[in-house]
Amino acid sequence: MLSDLRYRLRALFGRERMETDLDDELRFHVEREAEKYRRAGVSEAEAMRRARMAFGGHEQMKEDVREARGTSLLEQCMLDARYAVRVLRKNPGFTVVAALTLALGIGASTAAFSLVDAVLLRPLPYANGARVMMVWGEAPPGSFYSNFDMPFSAPQFQMIARTETVFSNFGVFRKKTFNLTGAAEPELREGVEVSGGFFATLGGSPQLGRSITAEDDQRGHERVAVLSDWLWRTRYHGDRGIVGRSVDVNGYPYTVIGVMPTSFVFPDAAGMPPGMDVPRRTAMWVPMALPPGALGSNDMGLIAELKPGVSTAQLNDDLVRFQQRWVERYPQAKGYWMRPVPLTAQAVTETRRPLLLWMGAVLVVLLIACSNVAGLTLNRSVGRRREFTLRGALGARRGRLVGQMVIENLLLAMVGGGPGLLVASASVWAVRHFGPATLPHLQEARVNLIVAGFALAVTLATGLLFGLAPALGATRTNLVEALKDGGQRNVGSATAPRIRNGLLVLQVALALVLVVAAGLLLRTFYSMLRAKAGFDATRVVTFELPLPASAQYADTGRMAQVYGEVLERVQAIPGVQAAGFASVVPMGGETDSTIIRIPGRPPILQSEAPGANYQFVSPGFFRAMGTPLEEGRDIAASDILTSQRVTVINRTMADEYWPGQDAVGKQVGVGMVRIPLRMIIGVVADTKQASLREPPSPEMYVPYTQNEIKTWPSMQTMQYALRLRGDAGGIAAQVRKAVDGVDPDLPVAQFAELRTMVDASMTADRFALLLLSGFGLLALILASVGMYGVISYTVLQRTAEIAVRMALGAGRGQILAMVLRQGGALALAGIGIGLAAAWMTTRLMAGFLYGVRAADPATFGAVALLLMGVALAACWVPARRAMRVDPMAALRCE
């Protein structure tokens, strides 16, 4: 064993020495043999000849000896690698194109897979993440709320708490605004209040102190707070002594009991349904401490950890049973049902579809890269048939030739893979910095080396497959025939050009699909920009004025008074042209909504009742926003609690509930019969509320001075809109001064220009567009590279033919046309197939489109033309080369 190793090592490192030794040894043998013949009386020359004959193939035997030494594999690899380097260097065109293809293909797909991995596949950073469900209420199909996942209400939660369920732990949470005062600058932060089971359900443990338990969730004990890592670091400077200290929250002293780790961010806005209001970024958690018999709207998210071994069917049975009990108590809830969603799926519901779109795009790019590499290697191996045949004749066995191909491909992989990793890191970095903030876990995305390896392996396997087949074919051919034939025109088997053309058609088709998809997104973006927003964002700034939840502002009348005073003061700022406020300004978020009743319509089930969004506005709000008043009059300062109750509605509401009639003067009210009806005094144009791509929904605008329901909708915060005469410089300070005049403790939050908010609402769309355009461009480049490669190769193959044609009188123009025609025919085939494929696949992305059909003929046509143009441009260079063929020179070469 030891001697074996020693021998092999010696063979490996003393290779030169052993080679000369072997040569000497074999030469001695031949000479000794010749001497034997000479002694037998044979002539000198004849003796040598016989000795050589008897000895057999010198090189072949040396090869066998090397193999017997047991070092051949490693040694051959090194030899092959050296040879491969030489081959790749001698063909810089091929090497650069192949390496570029690999780098781009591998880079792009690795980046995208890494993102998908981080966002979709990685487990949640909560201990129980995998077993936690969220439960949502679902309205009967066809009703106003049927498209939404509805949060829970306090009575529902309290009923679940009294019911035996399949949950081992469960908890609820709802958004709460915290006005942090005390030592530092007053700060307004969003967070949640949670029930006692919230932390136990998720299973996240704090980095400092403890989290909220059932004991904290009782009235009288609820003044405790758990801080998020970022709030702790920014406001409290990461002070480890914070636990046990008291902080001022909404005017009350709260004791800090713990700090959560960085990874614990639940709930964040990612993936929550539109009806569920959650903090953009949770700053802190406090106990909810609901009083017994609490009332309230559907504003709570429910998380529940299943008992071990509970099946989905059991869970659904449980929910059905609970819903039955609920309907016994509230008959109007008939028709509603409950839908459990695993937390893992919940966090990505909204973001999953764009990611799947990327995945599709990435797969297409990878396919194009593969077919490109396949085409390149196929071309080259066919060209190298002679080399392989010759090497076969000289005694190289098939194994060696295959090994050679493997080594060459591996080398190519290294040349392309390195830059590919760079491309991937750069892309991931770019996406993390410029990608939509709504994407959960995006910041955790890293280049995934396993994925990179996978992409590399796939492209290489393709290259190997297409490179190997012709190489193997070469070793199998009749050596003599192949060598005799030997000219350049020997293109090998008849199938090679067919495969090559097939690959090219495939590339063009795939690229077309991607570019069509990118084109559709581009048109979507364009329609969004041109969509009638119902407001004019120029020179409009908005801010939010949340009132602290303290005794001072407990009464809605007092709240309205404060909002009115602030409005008067900001209106008085010299640069302000118009000002107003609403519960939620356009682009400021979702509004509350309600079931409505319209007198004269038969009473029907709540589940089938009409509905509308419902919010407060001030006089002058529509003027400040630039929303056109289409009929009737605007809300006025004279609309107060004691006067006629009025409302302004939007165009969609008027057309939907009073089609063909004059809505102004009609009566409408919220679902509760004890609340009096309102008279419609005006109709305004539809406005986009959350994004430019949403379809309009019915809206009711109610004077903030006519809040007779008091408990709903909340008046805790209002959003102001100021239309300025000039630019926004210095306005923030003036607004602060105006608010100080009313109450210096009031925080001014979310100061922003409306234009910026409109832009922000389009981040996800812009991102999808950029990404798909990037992939589309990549596909175009790869396809044109492929086209160029194939056409140049064919021109090279046909040089002699072209020369003959020219000798027989064909003009240069005719030759040019011939080559372009060949490329054009391939491109046309690809475009045809691509159009059909795009027609079938773009309908999958209907959800991303706005203002354009999935089978938009203009986009399809334009992209087809673009591809044809690119294809012809790619053919142009080789076509010109063909045109310049010198017939005499080419024929002489024959």
């Binding site: 000497d24 074999l26 000895f55």
Partner: protein, 108 residues
């Protein structure tokens, strides 16, 4: 002159047996086998040298450079201790095999 191709696996045995007499170079080994077997057994040169290197790798023979009878530099192989043991084992195996084959042939 009738010659027989060597049965599989016997080449090693023949080389080891030949070297048991004393160190020899490659050519002499093949000549000797041919002579001793009255020209019946012939070692193909194409198999001889790979076999020698394989045996050397296994540590059964070792090589050193020496001077041949015609005053040339030649590579001589000799048995190692392990080689001697291996030869005994292989001879034993071969005898058993031959006897068994003969028995089968005669019984028919």
């Amino acid at each position: 002159m009738v010659s027989i191709d060597l049965p599989q696996g016997t080449l090693d045995l023949l080389i080891l047996r030949t070297l048991a007499v004393g160190p020899q170079h490659g050519w002499a080994i093949s000549e000797r086998v041919q002579q001793v077997s009255s020209d019946v057994l012939r070692i193909q040169q194409g198999s001889l040298y790979p076999a020698l290197h394989r045996l050397e790798r296994r540590g059964w023979i070792k090589a050193r450079w020496g001077t041949s009878d015609n005053n040339r530099r030649a590579k001589y192989y000799e048995l190692t201790r392990a080689g001697k043991k291996q030869l005994e084992r292989e001879e034993e195996t071969w005898r058993k095999l031959a006897a068994a084959v003969a028995q089968v042939l005669e019984s028919a």
